[in-house]
């Protein structure tokens, strides 16, 4: 892999957020990683490496605002380096790191130390989020000024809610002064405590303690009210129910600065997908019934859901190989997000690539104040090559994450990511 060489992506068709039609054009990237030509029949330097994209589409790089890279402290699950390789294999060229590491990232100095590691270890830009409360304990406000000075993209206690509404109110008021986005994992802990899967027929059948839909819904309602009262900007992570989405829709109609995200697994799996006590299906928030999933898909299409975010939460196979009730929540998601959305929706004509690019490339970047990327002259090269006719078998052997746990292991999905280019580097998959 030469860094200096220019590279020609030839024979592909270019996808964008604005058009449903692909444009059949070649793309030339120079040795510095800039797109210097896009079109047909332009002059190509003789030494340029040619990437044959015949039959493929070129898609702007995705950006994930919900990634647990586990470093520092839990490097047995994932590292910044392995996480970035997983991202590139999934067509993701940038992400926000959740602060639920060991120790939790709750000061400016910790943000700086992780960002230093990112610049050494990661192949992609990563932006470290900061905690809302000290140690993510939900008891005291963390030091926002230091973290804001280090340009944290958001403040969040990751997969913890701030249990006390008083403290949440003060956090939102105070964060507003620094212009930093607050992201909330909306939940009502006394209602969800001890639960393993959605409370419903499946939890009855399997005899597993349930997490009722209202535990997230009440959390969403509470945090929306606090955001409205404080006129703060709130991002709701991992929305999972129809009622929760309705609350977001109403708040948006009322003009509140609310955004929300959904994960691919909440768009394609239901609680009925859980079988054989396979802990790879254990998520927080949990997989919900079909009616919720349908509402989420509708919200993804109509824009009441702003962002796709995979909640990449790798664990070791060993950690997941335990009793369902005591297994950790979450699974790896970066390598399967685009494939799943293609396989389940784009290929079936439910919506087009332009919508996925909007929700998973443009909107997440805008959410944290970054410029969206596009495949055009003068832009840094940041896109992936996707073969719609290809197939991808999801297996732990082929995944780049250190924690290759996924409910889709063993499945063959339509579509194949051939490789991702970021600046002057080209990362072929496989």
């Amino acid at each position: 892999m030469s860094v200096e060489k220019s590279r020609l992506f030839r024979g592909g068709r270019i996808a964008s957020a604005v058009a449903t039609e692909f444009v059949p054009e070649d793309v030339l990237v120079d040795g510095s990683g800039m797109i210097i030509a896009r079109g047909k029949g332009f002059e190509v330097p003789t030494e340029a490496e040619v990437i044959d994209c015949t039959g493929c589409i070129l898609v702007p790089g995705m950006f994930d605002v919900h990634v647990h890279a586990r470093e520092p402290g839990q490097e047995h699950k994932e590292t910044l380096a392995t996480c970035s390789r997983a991202a590139l294999a999934g067509g993701v060229t940038g992400c926000v790191l959740m602060p639920d590491t060991s120790p939790p990232v709750d000061t400016g100095n910790l943000v700086k130390s992780v960002m230093d590691l990112v610049s050494e270890q990661s192949l992609i830009p990563m932006y470290q989020a900061g905690c809302l409360t000290k140690g993510r304990e939900g008891k005291e406000m963390a030091g926002y000024s230091g973290m804001a000075a280090r340009r944290v993209p958001m403040l969040t206690d990751a997969d913890h809610t701030v249990p006390c509404p008083y403290l949440m109110r003060r956090c939102m008021e105070y964060a507003k002064d620094f212009g930093v986005l607050v992201t909330s994992h909306c939940d009502t802990p006394p209602l969800s405590k001890g639960g393993a899967i959605h409370e419903g027929l499946t939890s009855y059948r399997l005899g597993l303690p349930g997490i009722p839909a209202m535990s997230q819904e009440i959390g969403i309602d509470r945090d929306i009210r606090i955001a409205q009262h404080t006129a703060g900007q709130l991002h709701i992570s991992q929305i999972s129910t129809a009622h929760g989405l309705k609350s977001v829709q109403i708040a948006k109609e009322e003009g509140a600065a609310i955004t929300c995200e959904v994960s691919p697994h909440h768009l394609v799996l239901t609680d009925a997908s859980i079988h054989d006590y396979n802990t790879h299906f254990k998520f927080d928030p949990p997989l919900r019934p079909a009616a919720d999933v349908e509402a989420l898909v509708q919200g993804f299409i109509d824009g009441s859901i702003d962002v796709l975010a995979c909640d990449h939460a790798p664990h070791t196979e060993f950690e997941k190989s335990s009793e369902f009730i005591s297994a950790p929540f979450g699974a790896a998601g970066l390598e399967t997000a685009v494939l799943l959305i293609f396989d389940q929706f784009i290929r079936r004509g439910v919506f087009g690539w332009n919508l996925l690019i909007e929700r998973y490339s443009n909107a997440p970047r805008k959410l944290i104040g970054q410029q969206p990327t596009a495949i055009r002259e003068g832009e840094k090269a940041e896109f992936f090559v996707f073969d719609e006719e290809g197939q991808t078998r999801i297996s732990s052997d082929c995944m780049h994450t250190k924690g290759p746990v996924s409910p889709f292991l063993g499945e063959t999905l339509s579509g194949q990511i051939r490789g991702t280019t970021l600046g002057s580097r080209w990362y072929p998959v496989g």
């Binding site: 027929l201 399997l206 006590y277 190989s321 335990s322 369902f324």
Partner: protein, 313 residues
């Protein structure tokens, strides 16, 4: 009976088909007849080993399996893991490796976490019998309950059973109701709204009061054990109130007696909570029959399952 597929494990009731249920229940009958003889043993499992692995204390079920295995001439190892030393989830795979190394032919397992017997079954060649996992399933209990009901009602189709008490935390309610439904027996739940899951199979009706229970004319009243610690979870205000609302007292027993209803309970009984002392002496109580049938059904289950261990020469 000839078309029966060989089955390695018994993990739940949901996955059983009617021919398998009939096979086990009909085989349990001659095993039970054996108990009347002076020699109660048959050589069916001679040379085979049964590992009784109980991660939750249970005298009844573990003894029942032990007796069943002995009467089939199997060698039995009892292994009770006290709750204080229960291994954390992380070492489940290690436990399974150890079990596999013991090369038992049958593993009878009870665990407080739903799904564990199934995970063990996936990783071992031994036949695994679920002896109760969390709130999930207790298939041999359901089978012995079915045997008991069929003894008093040879024409069991359309008979009515009301299961009373803490359904939410009951693997017995789940397995027994599912099996009864498969056999064409109608099942209703009766208990406080906090303990009867709102989302359940459509065939499970809910009765709201003893009056509704009597109006429904159940053939069997099936009482569940009420865990005293449930009042801490705010499922009901006090044991006294539970007993007042849902307990089987003499007045209610009189109504059942008039209807000729039978009484069942999976044991052990909490006297003074779900049932009074007088009700315990009810002449139509099937509680001891359930215990006896438990041994017969477990013999039939061990006889039926086919481990993948070794090959007989």
């Amino acid at each position: 009976m000839s078309e029966l597929k060989p089955r390695k494990d018994l993990l739940d009731i949901e996955s059983l088909d009617l021919s398998e249920i009939e096979y086990v229940l009909s085989n349990a009958v001659p095993f039970k007849q054996l108990f009347q003889r002076s020699v109660k043993k048959v050589p069916t499992l001679r040379g085979k080993t049964v590992l009784n692995l109980f991660y939750e204390p249970s005298t009844r079920t573990s003894s029942s399996f032990e007796v069943a295995a002995h009467r089939l001439s199997a060698d039995v190892t009892n292994f009770t893991v006290s709750s204080s030393s229960v291994v954390k989830g992380e070492s489940l795979l290690d436990t399974i490796e150890t079990l596999q190394a013991m090369r038992s032919d049958y593993i009878v397992i009870r665990h407080k976490a739903a799904g564990v017997p199934g995970i063990v079954a996936q990783h071992t060649k031994a036949s695994v019998v679920n002896a109760g996992d969390g709130f999930h399933a207790h298939p041999t209990q359901a089978l012995l309950d079915a045997m008991t009901v069929r003894e008093v009602f040879p024409e069991h189709q359309g008979r009515r059973v009301v299961i009373v008490g803490d359904i939410l935390h009951s693997r017995v309610a789940r397995s027994t109701s599912t099996l009864f439904h498969k056999l064409g027996i109608e099942v209703a739940y009766f208990g406080p709204g906090t303990l009867v899951p709102a989302e359940r199979h459509d065939f499970l009706r809910r009765l709201m009061s003893w009056e509704e229970v009597f109006d429904w004319k159940p053939d069997v009243i099936y009482l569940l054990r009420v865990q005293l610690e449930r009042q801490e979870g705010a499922f009901f205000p006090s044991i006294a109130e539970y007993h007042k609302m849902y307990g089987l007292n003499s007045l209610r027993l009189d109504r059942l007696r008039q209807m000729g209803s039978w009484l069942m309970h999976p044991g052990p009984v909490n006297r003074g909570v779900e049932i009074t002392d007088e009700a315990m002496r009810y002449e139509r109580s099937l509680i001891s029959t359930q215990v006896e049938n438990g041994i017969a059904v477990r013999m039939a289950v061990l006889h039926w399952l086919k481990p993948e261990n070794g090959v007989d020469s």
